[in-house]
Amino acid sequence: MKARVTVTLKSGVLDPQGKAIEGALRSLGVSGVASVRQGKIFDIELEGGDKARAEAALKEAADKLLANTVIENYRIEVMG
C-alpha cells in the first residue's frame, strides 16, 4: 500500500526558506506569486492491506518523528 505524509509549517510560523524562494521566483520574473511556504513530502510504502491500520501507523509516525507539531502540521493520504 502506498501512502503520502505531507508536512507543512503552521500558519504564523516564519519560513525564511519559503521567503527566499519567493524572492527568487520574483527575480526570475515569474508573475502572480503572492507567497511561498516550503514543506516536506514523505512517500511511504506500507506492508499489508488494512487501511485503518495503515492510517494509525502513519499517524504514529507523524506524531513521533515526521513532524514537529510545535511548528508543523501534517496530512496523511493512504493511496491504496
Binding site: 516564519l14 525564511p16 526558506q17 527566499a20 518523528l65 514537529n68 510545535v70 511548528i71
Partner: protein
C-alpha cells in the same frame, strides 16, 4: 564533577567539550555512545555537544532526540540531574521535549560562525553562578539553525519565570536586533527548563576557556557547575 558527554553520529564538538570539562573540573568525562542505554553511576552532569547529528536530516536534532540513550537522559533529568545542550545539543533537547520551542533556520538564511556577545540574565542558577547578572561575555557561535521560536504563551512563560539565561546583546549588554545575528525571539540564546536543571544554548562556551584562544569568558559556566556540585555534595 562526574560528567558524561553524549556522542551521536555526526556530532563534531565532543572533543572540545571533553577537553573543557577535563580542564575545568580536573576529571575525565565519560564518553557515551548514542546506542548506550544507561549513564555511568554517579553522573552529575550530562552534556550533549554540538555538531550535525545524523547530518541534520529531517530536522536538526530530530533523529538524535529519539535514539536509544535518550530515555536514560529523560530519567536523569526527571530526577533533577544537570543536563547541558550546546548548539546541536540545544536542538536535540528541544526535539526531545526536554526544553520547549524550536530552533529554526537563521533569519538571514546563512550559516553564522563568529564570536557574539551574550548578556547573562541571572547568576542564581547552577549554570550561571560563575557570572554576575547583567554581565556580558564573548563566545563563539557556529550554526545555521539557531533562530529560537516558540508560541507566545511559551515565550511569556519563559520570560515570566526568568528562564532565559543568555541573550544576544551588544558589547555593552544592549539587547537589540542589530546584535541578534540569527533572529531569535527576544534575542534568546539559552533557556532553562521549568525545574531549572536542563540548559540549552546555541553559543559555544566550551571554546572560550583557555587564555591561548584569546578569551576565557566561557569558563564561568563550567567553573560554576563544579562549584554548584561541590556545595551540593
Amino acid at each position: 564533577m562526574k560528567s558524561a558527554v553524549v556522542v551521536f553520529p555526526g556530532i563534531n564538538r565532543e572533543r572540545d567539550m571533553a577537553r573543557t570539562l577535563r580542564l575545568v573540573s580536573g576529571r575525565e568525562p565519560a564518553m557515551l555512545w548514542h546506542a548506550d542505554t544507561a549513564l555511568p553511576a554517579g553522573t552529575d552532569l550530562v552534556v550533549i555537544p554540538g555538531g550535525f547529528s545524523y547530518g541534520d536530516y529531517l530536522r536538526c536534532g530530530a533523529i538524535a532526540a529519539r535514539s536509544p540513550i535518550m530515555p536514560a537522559i529523560h530519567d536523569f533529568a526527571a530526577k533533577g540531574g544537570l543536563v547541558l545542550g550546546v548548539c546541536n545539543g540545544f536542538q536535540i533537547l528541544c526535539e526531545a521535549a526536554l526544553l520547549p520551542g524550536v530552533l529554526m533556520r537563521n533569519q538571514n538564511l546563512r550559516f553564522i560562525c563568529r564570536d557574539v556577545f551574550l548578556r547573562v540574565e541571572r547568576s542564581d542558577t547552577p549554570f550561571t553562578r560563575g557570572y554576575n547578572a547583567g554581565q556580558v561575555i564573548r563566545v563563539p557561535v557556529a550554526h545555521g539553525e539557531g533562530n529560537y521560536i516558540a508560541d507566545s504563551e511559551t515565550i511569556a512563560k519563559l520570560e515570566g519565570e526568568g528562564r532565559v539565561l543568555f541573550r544576544y546583546a551588544s558589547p555593552d549588554g544592549l539587547v537589540d536586533p542589530n546584535w541578534n545575528h540569527n533572529g531569535a525571539i527576544n534575542g534568546i540564546a539559552g533557556i532553562l527548563n521549568e525545574r531549572g536543571n536542563v540548559l540549552g544554548m546555541m553559543p559555544h562556551p566550551e571554546n572560550h576557556v583557555e587564555g591561548a584562544i584569546g578569551s576565557t569568558a566561557g569558563r564561568g559556566l563550567f567553573a560554576g557547575l563544579v562549584e554548584h556540585l561541590a556545595r551540593a555534595a
